[in-house]
Symmetry: C2
Subunit: 579 residues, 2 copies
């Protein structure tokens, strides 16, 4: 009979998981040994638990089943929290297994409310229940099967997310009983879809638009969406987490609306007469600050697996459907065969005209002094091979790259969406099992997980890390410039944030590094980066205070509050006659 | 009238806080600006929020008032959790201020249970309430004074600990009303001390012993304790967090009991007939695995500020007193003037004989191949100047250094006690405001916060970091050797953990580095390190698999559980005739 620890990893492996991201620790000793002895599982040791869960997040989003992380008690667990919070917000399935103190000590610690009984031990339930779909401590070996089955079910059902199983060290090595109860999920009700209304919306629509979010990717429904859009010439805009839904060269792709959006997509949203919102939570960063003004002339149909997102109601929606996106789109494609939907070529042409008229990457960027980050990104995206996972870290780089990346077919595009966590570049470790990866990061964000340079080197992972070195936190620099009259604190070398020589650090960790300082050398050097096998750091010396545009700008009001511009009135403001 | 953000930093400054450890972020924008504009406060920008709270922890323990950390929303907050958990477990006063999303968004997120409404926003209450003494969101400017006064009171009263104030971005810049309610603590009852019993215990005792923990330091009662001990010749042993209570050259200092302890202190504990337990929680790592066998022939008096620690009852105690350690010792010194306490010179001599007979650092260590970590530590402690804060990271280094460091007068000794968190060396940033600091860390632990090399260099902090490079996690290596028949995973270069060239990394960050590879060069090179002004990394190539002894050893039983040896039967086991 297996031990608890053996069962856990056997279970995960049987679900298709092939890799576990870990940092070892004494209180996870039997778990670690069971992982070692499981011949089908590969362990990738990270340098910090934060990256175990970030890597598992990206593994989960890439493979569609949970990414797995093994961490130890106390600080191992708390270090892992940021990555779990990220997975929670971005609907990423994840399975965290942690070592814990002896079960008796844990039970006393929980019951008494004492700060600590053992050493390193923390009661995790309260800390992580709000950012996990299921958390359980295995206090009795006989409960192992139930907790594992339940946790897996929760991670994968409905809106996906992380789960966490905490295993006291004395339980890990215990033999399982011959029989264990399993978990049986209650049946899920299939919603009644108002197809008649949807049909009438589509048959009447002259300017339909699809706004696609990560829900489409999570459900694996990209093909069904594109089939429908292409059949009826429905243009598509994407939220940031939904960028991967549609390649940029698809004629129906109009843009990516948001606080740092683009004019064509914002005009499309405001002009459409039917907005099909698919798997997007309509975050403020997507809809701007006046959601009730969004798509004012459109019927709005919102499909989402999470009832809470449908209930939010910031954007008044005509029809809310709580349903799996894939099932919805499959049924839509079948039902619509008999509908009388015209194609909308003129509308698509209009949207595309706007896209041509208002490009995000302006031609003058190339002529500016220093390397403009948009210009660099455009070049990089042209030179990046197909079949690559593009992982983008947080900060100005995320805004710039999400606005300007030209996504190719068979490229995945992954960001830290809801949490917007600095240091996310290192989550690229979780994509490296599936092929080539490029990670794009700012210098501030790179620093937050720079210890992982060691992991890249050790496992010779095929990750090309492009560090946009703008000497500090450029987004905050803008913020303090715009609202604090240049009272700079914590933004750059003059205000507390050192300038780092990333090539020197990379070399210290045994990684090759290429530095780009002149725009004339971009193409040659990027090609050089891609020509090197294995990991490479490419440090790009970009403008320190480059413009980030277009964007929704805000002004400080007399009472100290900020007032934002309207959704389609992006900064730099257009001359009204020019629109 | 001040804004909320201005009031917060003005309040902290008026309480004597001089430094705030921070990482900037947009959702903390007005907080950051208020900190910038407060002329009496200095901001130290760290590279990762984890280190903001670790540094604040050490600042708090050093200065006796809260250390302050300013972090941003979401990932800024979750990154800070590990440091807060450490402060919680080690009774360290700390004040965390975080930026948060707009108050309306936060209120909706809390009420609805939606995963997220804004961007980056997480509801922190559940996540941090279990590791803080007070957590509050300022949802109304009028509540600012109450929350600040209450939080400060909680951080400093009773058993100290961290508090956390979360401030929505729209509230930060709001003007305060003319009048605000404050916080009035309820009066604390003064306990009735059974002085008669204590007197009788002391008058009868022939072999009294003091076990001192961090509570003594937290109460600032070191002098009172030493006065009493010296007056009546009472020997002293210390828990790890209590190491700073008594200099090692004090004739009454016997040792430091624990899982990685020393024979003399263990014998003293088991032989004493009166054990005065002062501000020690009697953790398993101090008492071993059979707390009911501890000091079997002794009357036991335990004084602690935390009722929960007194109630724990693992060690049967004759008299439990919930009281402030300083007040207790002041009163004890007065009361005992009229008691008939004999001095205990023979008992002290006996304890000291054991100390001489069983040194922790054996003379043969010098002759071993490679650099033995105990040998190096002894040398280093001899060469380390007085008036230095010694910060010790977790792992084998903590065991080795805590066993063998010869603490000088006016040295502080700080570890991550309860949490035992890797990467704690970087908390030394919080001690650098108060003079010279040395940090001792393993290579695995150094990696966990290596980004802070940049902070050391940027602020030119007087921190000498000694990295014991044993190529991986040596404690886990021992663990997998002892219990897993050398099935190594996640312990060193052959099993997932890369070997790092710390001098190369240090130099990449602009830090001088000294590498010690031969034992003959230890003295010269350590002197060289101390001769350099400002930060230095000293990489010491120690044995990869050195013995860690003495310690309480465990065996694996047939049912998979571990069985530990008795408290005074330390490994390597003594020949009974030799005791």
């Amino acid at each position: 009979m297996m031990t608890v620890a053996e069962y856990i990893f056997d279970f995960l492996n049987k679900k298709g998981i092939s890799t576990v991201y870990m940092v070892s620790g004494s209180s996870a000793m039997w778990l670690t040994d069971a992982l070692y002895r499981n011949e089908n599982l590969k362990a990738i040791c990270c340098q910090h638990e934060q990256v175990c869960t970030m890597a598992a997040d990206v593994y989960g989003r890439t493979k569609g089943i949970p990414g797995a992380a093994l961490v130890t008690i106390g600080p191992g667990a708390t270090n892992a929290i940021t990555g779990v919070a990220g997975a929670w917000l971005d609907s990423s399935p994840m399975f965290v297994v942690s070592g814990q103190t002896n079960s008796k000590i844990l039970a006393y610690q929980k019951a008494s409310g004492i700060r600590q009984k053992g050493t390193q031990s923390l009661v995790l339930g309260d800390m992580v229940s709000g950012i996990t779909k299921y958390f359980a401590e295995i206090m009795d070996p006989a409960d192992t099967r139930y907790h594992m089955e339940r946790a897996y079910y929760e991670a994968m059902s409905g809106r996906k997310g992380p789960v966490w199983i905490d295993v006291p060290v004395d339980i890990q090595n215990r033999k399982l009983p011959d029989e264990m109860n399993g978990f049986t999920p209650s049946s899920v009700e299939i919603p009644i879809i108002q197809w008649k209304e949807i049909r009438s919306f589509f048959e009447r629509a002259k300017r339909p638009l699809i706004l696609a979010g990560y829900g489409v990717i999570s459900a694996g429904a990209e093909e069904e969406l594109l089939f429908f859009a292409e059949k009826y010439s429905v243009p598509v805009v994407t939220s940031r987490n939904g960028i991967g839904v549609i390649p940029s060269d698809n004629p129906l792709f109009i843009g990516r609306p948001g606080s740092y959006g683009d004019r064509a997509s914002h005009f499309a949203v405001q002009e459409c007469d039917l907005l099909l919102i698919l798997g997007s939570r309509l975050a403020q960063s997507t809809t701007g600050y006046y959601p009730d003004h969004l798509a004012p002339n459109a019927k709005k149909v919102m499909v989402d697996i999470d009832e809470k997102e449908l209930r939010k109601g910031d954007v008044p929606v005509d029809l809310s459907i709580q349903y799996d996106l894939k099932k919805f789109l499959v049924e839509l494609n079948i039902k619509s065969e008999t509908w009388d939907i015209s194609t909308h070529s003129a509308w698509v042409a209009h949207c595309r005209d706007n896209k041509m008229k208002y490009p995000t990457v302006l031609s003058e960027y190339e002529k500016e002094e220093g390397i403009n980050s948009y210009f660099f990104t455009k070049k990089l995206s042209e030179l990046t091979p197909d079949h690559t996972t593009v992982v983008v870290d947080t900060g100005s780089v995320c805004n710039i790259v999400s606005q300007s990346w030209e996504l190719k077919k068979n490229q995945k595009y992954i960001i830290s969406g809801g949490l917007s966590c600095m240091g996310f570049w290192a989550s690229s470790i979780g994509a490296a099992s599936f092929g080539n990866v490029i990670a794009l990061s700012g210098d501030g964000a790179t620093q937050m997980n720079i210890q992982e340079f060691a992991t890249l080197a050790y496992y010779h992972l095929s990750i090309k890390l492009f560090v946009y070195n703008n000497k500090g936190y450029m987004l905050i620099r803008h913020n303090q410039h715009n609202y604090m009259q240049d009272r700079f604190l914590g933004v750059g070398p003059d205000s507390g944030v050192p300038s780092i020589d990333f090539c020197a650090v990379a070399k210290a960790y045994g990684l090759p590094c290429v530095r780009i300082t002149e725009k004339e050398e971009i193409e040659d050097k990027v090609k050089k980066v891609f020509a090197i096998e294995g990991p490479v750091v490419c440090e790009v010396m970009v403008q320190e205070f480059g413009t980030i545009a277009p964007r929704i700008a805000s002004r400080v009001m007399p009472d100290g509050s900020l007032k934002a511009a309207e959704f389609d009135d992006l900064w730099p403001f257009l001359d009204k006659g020019n629109m």
